[in-house]
Symmetry: C2
Subunit: 185 residues, 2 copies
């Protein structure tokens, strides 16, 4: 950030009075521009014993497999965001179940929220997907998953499925987790 | 938003190619400035049969009672944000339990995430609080709560406490809920 989005003057990165961390503040109108984490909402679509995955047609991680998920937009709920992303990336309608994984990624200012969902009917590749397919557990392309959040969500799912209980899992992916993941991919 | 925070030129509110909703886009460097919902993280601090509330020293809703909560910052986790807000507003340390309420407020682009927590030791009014106090259920100032998210979280808590089970509650507060709430306050 170099300029104030309100008045167009330059900004400084300073600690405002009464605050405890640096913010971008305008030299002229003194607007403080707060920056906050973004929510990535998505689903784990299940059809019988199978799980739906999408192969990414866009960077980052083009060609790798992912669950349908993306940035939550203003004016929608987390559940609406998760269903919309599933519609956009997999042309699929789902019936949402519970919030299943909540994963903090503080090094990239993201919070993943993946809802377990029942896949209803057909699916196809949306514009951001090269292909969309259903996978049995033994066919999951573990070495070709796009992000550590996706691997973690799938690992929880297959562990929980043995007991038929799917509680919310809250966890964190650190910078070190991320480097280990992409280093081995 | 009037100016590009990257290069300082003016922006238009237009639907970018391949997108489905208007965004602020720079006339010069063509940077698209996405805007996304913000997370409000907080806690429901419990001490024996009592719940801790803070009376707000700042707008909005100055003088009304709330649970300690505030905007999640970059570079922290949701749990760290909830604990930090509790420390800042109530000078209190807590041991976090489960994520207890997840409340979407799409009309103001917020997502509330309140964690149930055990209060550890002392507390006092932080700079954003006029006072901080413990309340028994029959003393909760229902007509002087700051926000509908706070009332909803407390209602869930007292209902759940009868059974000793505190599952995550996912819900939405609509514009109409909000108007009804502030209209009657």
């Amino acid at each position: 950030m170099n300029f104030c989005s309100h008045c167009g003057d330059t900004v400084s990165f300073v600690i405002p009075e009464g605050d405890d961390r640096p913010r971008y503040r305008c030299h002229s109108c003194e607007t403080i521009h707060y920056q906050n984490p973004r929510i990535v909402a998505g689903t784990l679509p299940v059809f019988g014993s199978q799980v739906l995955l999408c192969r990414r047609a866009i960077a980052p991680r083009l060609g790798y497999w992912t669950l349908p998920a993306g940035y939550m937009e203003n004016a929608e709920t987390t559940r609406q965001a998760a269903a919309r992303e599933t519609r956009e990336e997999a042309c699929a309608e789902v019936s949402l179940c519970n919030l299943y994984t909540l994963i903090d990624l503080p090094h990239i200012n993201q919070v993943y929220m993946i809802f377990r969902a029942d896949l209803l009917g057909d699916f196809a590749a949306g514009v951001e997907s090269l292909e969309v397919a259903l996978f049995e557990e033994h066919d999951i392309p573990w070495d070709e998953l796009a992000f550590p959040t996706i691997e973690r969500t799938l690992r929880h799912y297959y562990a929980d499925r043995q007991h038929g209980m799917f509680p919310l899992h809250v966890s964190e992916i650190t910078q070190e987790d991320r480097e280990r993941y992409f280093g081995s991919a």
